[in-house]
Symmetry: C2
Subunit: 225 residues, 2 copies
DNA sequence: GTATGCTCAAAACGTACGTTTGATTTTTTA
DNA sequence: TAAAAAATCAAACGTACGTTTTGAGCATAC
């Protein structure tokens, strides 16, 4: 369950925030926006799914877009924190990368709805929403510039803009979850814990060593380093 | 300009297919759906942007969703062909990967609107549309299984499901273009030909060698192979 | 020359949209 | 416990939606 301590002081006091209409609307928004799409989801549908009165949406969030902004805000905040907590530090590169991939994958697995909304469902033609997304993106770019770009430079030995590497990495990590509903529907693979453990190791390996032959142990690069 | 020879025989005969209302509607759909979103775009808005009469949309495509399906169909077909034409073959891995990244990047650069629609704007709650996407995804999965997975196995030495690698690769290549409008708005980097040449080399390198130290030349892995 | 296909403007179809209102109930405060 | 504040409700606001129909004008094909 997701908490939003920064939203309203009163929510901190409450011990059943999950049952609060405000939270119910948010969860309904995540569920419906990520499936039907933001524009295709009606406020009546949203209210019914949340089990609250129609007027409560505008009462708590001001507008339908207010719900969207709350979702996007939560996602980017939590995503940034997840990346930051796992990419910083001084341990060996292999450990840090695998921890990062594991943490981000687990977060996206638990919050793929929010991710889809944040990445794909934002109506960028609304200036207010666009600026909202740009603001969060600047944060992520700063994060990439401080922690990821140095790694790239060590590898390629050339300065690379943070605008390049952030989306590439993000897309790499998010790609699976954007297609997850379709992958599940095809049904030729079971998306269980075993799958994701293998997935995390695959992505970590690709991130560290790429497709190039890395030797039988899969770690020949660092072994000879 | 994009041609759709598979749509209708009559289009092949025409020498000004771009001016044809059918094509104008499709281009308008790509432009508007990718910016406002599919559900948020009205058919009157679509007709006006295309410069055709409102009734022409249903006349040619049956419904608003028909326009969407035509766009998605075109994208997946062209995307698959682009990947296939550049990943197959017997040349050195480095060359094939860089050619693949270059071709896909160029295609996505020219068709980022269609990509965004195909990846993000599909109303998956409509069974008909869902099945449409699943069908195309199966194709892509088969393609990945035949041409990409063998490369992975060479590197990691372990069988990996095609469902894993496809979306990871796709996300890696598409990530930048999903965020492109925001990147452009931030405006700290110019997305010109120079940028994309550097971008292609970065992604190719990451795909081949990852973030691991690849030596001063950036090719130490294959050099010692 | 008449049939067929294409394009148009305009109108109407019923439905659904996001938001607001004002009254009513519940909770908090003093 | 009485007054104030917050929360919840049903109903209505005007607008926009996707689609279909009408009837006319125009070109091309048989």
């Amino acid at each position: 369950m997701i908490f939003y301590l920064e939203l309203k002081d009163e929510m901190i006091k409450m011990n059943h925030a999950v049952d609060h209409p405000r939270e119910r609307i948010l969860q309904a928004g995540i569920h419906l926006f990520s499936r039907r799409g933001f524009a295709a989801t009606g406020v009546r549908e949203l209210a019914e799914y949340a089990g609250v009165n129609l007027a409560m949406i505008n009462y708590y969030y001001g507008s339908k877009i207010g719900v969207l902004k709350a979702i996007v805000d939560t996602f980017f905040t939590e995503y940034s924190r997840t990346v930051l907590e796992n990419v910083a530090g001084e341990g060996p590169l292999e450990t840090r990368i695998e921890n990062l991939v594991r943490a981000v994958t687990r977060y996206l697995l638990a919050n793929s709805g929010m991710m889809k909304i944040a990445v794909a469902e934002m109506p960028l033609d609304i200036p207010e929403v666009f600026e909202y997304k740009a603001q969060h993106f600047r944060q992520l770019k700063k994060l990439a510039g401080e922690h990821i770009v140095p790694l790239i430079e060590k590898s390629i030995g050339k300065k690379q803009p943070a605008e390049m590497i952030g989306p590439v990495l993000g897309g790499m990590l998010m790609g699976h979850f954007l297609f997850r509903p379709v992958i599940m529907a095809i049904g030729e693979v079971t998306l269980d814990a075993v799958f994701y453990e293998q997935y995390i190791r695959l992505v970590s390996h690709m991130l560290l060593y790429g497709l190039g032959k890395a030797g039988p142990g899969g770690r020949s690069i660092t072994a000879g380093d």
